[in-house]
C-alpha cells in the first residue's frame, strides 16, 4: 500500500510541469528581473489603479509581452518608460521622478530635520 502511494506521488510529481508557464522563455534571468521591475512600475492603462503585474486585463498581458520584446530588442529601462509614456501619457508611469517632484521629496526631509533639532535642543535644555 505504501509503495503504491509512493508510486502515485511520483506520478503526480511528473505532471507538475504541465502547470509551469514560462511565457518569456527567450529572456535570460537578468532580463526577466528587468521585465518584472518594469511591469511593477507601469500602470495598467485600463485599470484605475494597479500595475501591469497585478492586473488581469487583456491589455496588461499584451503590454508585458511587448515590454519583453522591447527588452529583447535592446531597449533600456528608461527608454521603455519613455515609450509607454509616449503612448499612454504620464499617467501610466508609477515610478515618481525625483527631479520633477523636488518639493515632494524635500518637505518630509525638512520636517524631519526640524523635529530632530527641536527634540535635541529640548532634551539638552532639560538635562541642564
Amino acid at each position: 500500500m505504501k509503495n503504491l502511494l509512493r508510486i502515485f506521488n511520483i506520478f503526480i510529481f511528473f505532471t507538475l510541469p504541465i502547470y509551469a508557464e514560462n511565457l518569456y522563455e527567450n529572456l535570460n534571468p537578468q532580463q526577466l528581473k528587468r521585465l518584472d521591475y518594469l511591469a511593477e512600475n507601469i500602470r495598467c492603462p485600463k485599470c484605475s489603479y494597479g500595475n501591469i503585474n497585478s492586473s488581469n486585463a487583456p491589455i496588461s498581458k499584451d503590454l508585458k509581452q511587448e515590454i519583453a520584446s522591447l527588452i529583447k530588442e535592446g531597449y533600456s529601462n528608461d527608454e521603455i518608460f519613455k515609450f509607454m509614456e509616449e503612448r499612454y501619457g504620464n499617467y501610466v508611469i508609477l515610478k515618481t521622478d525625483i527631479n520633477e517632484n523636488k518639493t515632494l521629496f524635500l518637505i518630509p526631509l525638512i520636517v524631519l530635520l526640524i523635529s530632530i533639532l527641536l527634540v535635541t535642543t529640548y532634551t539638552i535644555k532639560r538635562s541642564k
Binding site: P45, P58, I59, E66, Y88, G89, N90, Y91
Partner: protein, 171 residues
C-alpha cells in the same frame, strides 16, 4: 527661547500644509487620466484581414474620413453602444470600420447577425496586436481618422453626448 522659535516654525509649517491642502480642494481640475491618441498617425504595419479572411488594403483606412470602432462580442458596453452606431450610419454619411478585438471569429459573426452590422467591414484582430500598436486599451474605443491622422479618440462608450462633443463637428 529656542523651543519657542521652533514651535513657531512648526506652526508656520502646519499652516502652510493646511493652506496647500485647502487649495487642492478648491481646484476642480479633472483627474489625470490616460492620454488619448489624438494627433498621432495611424500606424498599422502588418497585413490586415476582415472577418471573412479577405486581405484589406491599408488605403481604405488612411484615405478620407474613417470612423474606427473597437468592439468584441464579449464586451457588454459595445452592445450598449451598438444601436447608437447603427443609427449614426443610417442617418449620416459615415464610413464606419470595426476592429474586432480579441474575439473568436464565430462569436463575432453571430454577434453581427443578431444585432445588425453597421460596419463596412471589421478588421479581425484576434491577438490584439493591431489594436495595441494603435494605443487601444480595451473595448469599446472609437477613433476618428482623417487621412491617416487620428483626430478624435474616445475611450469608452460613444453616445449622443460624446458624439456631439467629439465627433459631430467633423461630419
Amino acid at each position: 527661547m529656542v523651543t519657542r522659535y521652533f514651535l513657531v516654525l512648526i506652526l508656520a509649517l502646519l499652516v502652510m500644509m493646511l493652506s496647500i491642502f485647502s487649495l487642492s480642494l478648491v481646484q476642480t481640475d479633472e483627474p489625470q487620466t490616460i492620454k488619448t491618441q489624438e494627433g498621432k498617425k495611424l500606424i498599422i504595419s502588418e497585413q490586415i484581414y476582415d472577418l471573412d479572411g479577405n486581405p484589406i488594403p491599408l488605403k481604405s483606412l488612411t484615405k478620407g474620413k474613417v470612423l474606427l470602432n473597437v468592439w468584441a462580442s464579449w464586451c457588454i458596453t459595445c452592445l450598449v453602444e451598438h444601436p447608437f452606431l447603427k443609427s449614426i450610419t443610417e442617418s449620416k454619411n459615415v464610413k464606419l470600420i470595426g476592429i474586432n478585438y480579441k474575439d473568436q471569429n464565430f462569436n463575432a459573426t453571430s454577434y453581427l447577425q443578431k444585432n445588425g452590422d453597421p460596419y463596412e467591414f471589421s478588421i479581425f484582430d484576434l491577438s490584439g496586436d493591431i489594436s495595441l500598436k494603435l494605443g487601444v486599451t480595451g473595448a469599446p474605443e472609437t477613433f476618428l481618422v482623417i487621412d491617416g491622422e487620428i483626430i478624435s479618440h474616445r475611450i469608452g462608450e460613444v453616445n449622443l453626448e460624446v458624439w456631439n462633443e467629439k465627433f459631430a463637428p467633423y461630419f
